[in-house]
């Protein structure tokens, strides 16, 4: 298994772990019951704004730890740059990732049209963010394995 495939698997695991732990922490601490409409919007706004820096910092830490472990276990340095194949695969995965997020965004807007609670819209939107990231990682894994 190549460095890129291992990196993608670690990235996917890290993303799911961070998201899961963050949701667990937030929903244990705060309950959505009894929140009025204004509180709901404020809660979800804070949820997203805190999730972004938390996941960025966690991903940086995970990447550093992964590179150290990779060097120790394989006695091989990680590629120092992305070449044309890496960039092509990244572009294709970003495209698929955007398609997934756009679909989620449209569904979220649809929930507003159907007059569903605001929470439903945010849950769909956040799920679409997570799903789009997973689609991106799976696309990369598929293209690195099958070829491009």
């Amino acid at each position: 298994m190549s460095y890129q495939e291992k990196k993608n698997i670690v990235s996917l695991t890290g993303t799911l772990l961070i998201f899961g732990l963050y949701c667990l922490y937030v929903f244990r601490k705060y309950s959505l019951d009894g929140l009025d409409s204004t509180d709901t919007l404020s809660f979800w706004g804070a949820f997203i704004l805190i999730l972004i820096p938390v996941s960025i910092v966690a991903k940086i830490v995970i990447t550093i730890v992964f590179n150290i472990v990779y060097r120790i276990t394989t006695k091989e340095a990680e590629p120092a740059f992305s070449d044309e194949r890496d960039k092509l695969i990244e572009l294709k995965s970003t495209k698929n990732s955007h398609y997934a997020f756009t679909l989620g965004f449209l569904l979220a807007m649809g929930s507003l049209v159907l007059e569903m609670p605001h929470s439903a819209m945010f849950i769909i939107l956040i799920s679409a963010g997570l799903l789009s990231e997973m689609v991106g990682v799976f696309t990369q894994l598929f293209l690195y394995r099958r070829g491009v």
Binding site: S2, Y3, P79, D83, E84, R85, D86, G147, V148
Partner: protein, 75 residues
């Protein structure tokens, strides 16, 4: 239009050039070793620029490094 199957003689050429390693070729062509691996396994068709760079490393014409598999099907 289907994808044109492009084969190559990279492995053979590396062997004929003092058993050049994949890493050495990668460094000379300016790509990662994984890309050379993918090329040799037929999992990646390089850009024209990379194809020329690899041909330059082996000091060979492009057609001696890369070729179209089952050419007669495409004529």
């Amino acid at each position: 239009m289907g994808k044109l199957p492009i084969g190559n003689h990279i492995r053979k050429l590396r062997f004929n050039h003092d058993e050049m390693t994949q890493q050495q070729l990668a460094e000379k062509a300016g790509v990662t070793r994984q890309t050379i691996v993918a090329l040799e396994q037929g999992k990646y068709s390089p850009s024209l620029e990379l194809a020329f760079r690899i041909a330059l490393v082996f000091a060979s014409p492009l057609e001696e490094v890369f070729f179209i598999e089952n050419k007669e099907e495409f004529i």
